[in-house]
Amino acid sequence: MKKEIAITAYKCKKCGKIHYPFHDRCLDCKGREFEKIKPEGNAKLLTFTTIFNLPWGFDQRYLVIGVVEFENKVKAMGQIKADSVDQLKIGMKVKPTWEPVRVQYGEDVYGLKFEPMK
């Protein structure tokens, strides 16, 4: 079953700046009221890396991680579904999904994953 992307971004009601994650006051104007928004559409890959020395809690050999910007300007980190960075390029389109990103205390933890688009 496909899961909905469960992160919430926050748009400042005073100046329109978009935040993710949550801040109690707007990073630009100190406004305290935000409109909750969902990241929308596909995303653009801003930067990425493959991590080979993973922390405790990961059994795989490596993990590709990146930062993206969604069509509505929300920026976030996530795991990238790619075998190698050779398939990736800064600025390329990626398709977001909400999937298990790690296991903690025997339970799946869900988060953002991005699939490179041709």
């Binding site: 992160i7 935040h19 993710y20 994650p21 990073l27 801003l46 930067t47 990425f48 890396t49 493959t50 991590i51 080979f52 020395n53 993973l54 922390p55 405790w56 809690g57 990961f58 993990l63 991680i65 990146g66 930062v67 920026k75 976030a76 980190m77 996530g78 795991q79 960075v85 800064i90 990103v101 790690r102 903690q104 933890v109 988060g111 953002l112």
Partner: protein, 396 residues
């Protein structure tokens, strides 16, 4: 504000210190600094202890209270300062302000970490706990991973190449072989880590485009300083060091929220504040210790503090401008790359190395001739909490 001097500096060799507890290391370094200051059995007014991981790695809290007791410095005021990998410089700053304010006269600042008590996986996880707990940490991001993403952008924007990064690894590990306190005392060979087809195993990718030898090791270690008023320092009759300027600034917690992630705003601001306070400019600096947890950081920081224009730092390193004898010698100690990076200890260790430089007491092969002004950058988080110090030699 009163001027503040440094009259004592001490360090223990970094590396794997299996036989020593965290408290052992903090004590040894403290005694070295106290003895160096010539305090004899005199006490200090206060003790600031920089440590990031005692709670997580050693399951120990209230480390400063324990240390004053162990060192028989009771009833000196004492506290532990945790500010990620910038804990060391933060503790020095707190000492500086406490003396500058006129409240205390003599302060011991000590920073240390025992990271090799746990396996590499746990140490990596411990360091990663400074990332955002919801927006970053769950994905498996690590500090080397952050640095990898930063490097990719920096390469794209400023044309930094692996050749530039290599110059930093080679220089710093070469300098490390001359430093008896360094964790890694092995000079690297360009062929072995880059040119030869065997380099793929010797120097594998850690977080691309960064390779193993672009990263600092995980270390145990501690370093300490004695700060005091200038009046007390003068009485020693020996050359001493004053803290001419400092600056500190913060930046967004997540990398994603930075307008331009290649712009290390906190480094620029911290350096600007420090130079303004010291009434000096980058060209006045004789020697610098920059926070090269990753080779790219030495390049980026050398640009952000103003030694080189953006995009010029890597070329300057390749041209030898940052070597001993060059335009601005950087990380003559070997830096974090070779000295090692016991997170809470690093900020203090950098200043200890600069103090030795400014007192002109290092062996010729590591001494910057006639060093008058030194600069340090201690880089916390991934650049979200940065301190810069400017130190000046005083000849009484």
């Amino acid at each position: 504000m009163r001027d503040v001097a440094i009259i004592g500096a001490g360090m223990i060799p970094f590396g794997r210190r299996d036989e020593d507890t965290l408290m052992d290391m903090l004590s040894y370094a403290s005694l070295k600094a106290l003895d160096d200051a010539g305090l004899g059995d005199k006490s200090v007014d206060a003790v600031y202890v920089a440590n990031m991981g005692g709670g997580m790695l050693q399951h120990q809290s209230a480390i400063a209270s324990s240390l004053v007791d162990r060192l028989s410095l009771l009833p000196a005021a004492a506290e532990t300062i945790e500010n990620g990998p910038a804990s060391g410089a933060s503790a020095v700053k707190n000492g500086l302000l406490a003396i500058a304010s006129g409240y205390y006269d003599t302060i011991l600042v000590v920073g240390g970490e025992k990271m090799r008590e746990v396996t590499g996986w746990r140490a990596t996880d411990f360091v990663a706990t400074m990332t955002h707990p919801q927006a970053e940490y769950p994905y498996g991001i690590t500090l080397p991973g952050m640095a990898g993403m930063f490097t990719r952008l920096y390469m794209e924007k400023y044309g930094v190449t692996r050749e530039h990064l290599l110059a930093i690894s080679l220089k710093n590990q070469e300098m490390g072989t001359l430093n008896p306190y360094a964790h890694v005392e092995m000079a690297l060979d360009r062929g072995g880590i880059y040119d030869s087809p065997h380099a793929i195993v010797n120097n594998p990718v850690s977080a691309d485009p960064l390779h193993l030898y672009d990263l600092c090791p995980v270390s145990d270690g501690a370093a300490a300083l004695v700060l005091c008023t200038v009046e007390i320092a003068k009485k020693t009759g020996k050359p001493y060091v004053v803290i001419a300027g400092f600056g500190q600034a913060t930046d967004t917690h997540t990398l994603a929220e930075r307008e331009d992630p290649t712009d290390l705003k906190a480094v620029t601001l911290a350096a600007q504040q420090a130079f303004a306070m010291a009434k000096l400019k980058p060209s006045d600096v004789s020697v610098a210790e920059l926070h090269d947890a990753f080779t790219i950081l030495e390049i980026a920081e050398s640009e952000h503090v103003g030694f080189f224009k953006k995009g010029e730092g890597g070329k300057a390193a390749v041209a030898g401008k940052t070597r001993l004898g060059g335009q601005i010698p950087i990380n003559v100690s070997g830096g974090l790359k070779a000295r090692g990076h016991p997170v809470g200890g690093t900020g203090v260790a950098q200043i200890v190395d600069i103090v030795w430089q400014l007192r002109h007491e290092l062996p010729e092969n590591r001494q910057v001739k006639n060093a008058e002004v030194g600069l340090t950058v201690n880089f916390g988080g991934f650049g979200n909490n940065v301190l810069c110090f400017i130190l000046r030699r005083v000849q009484p």
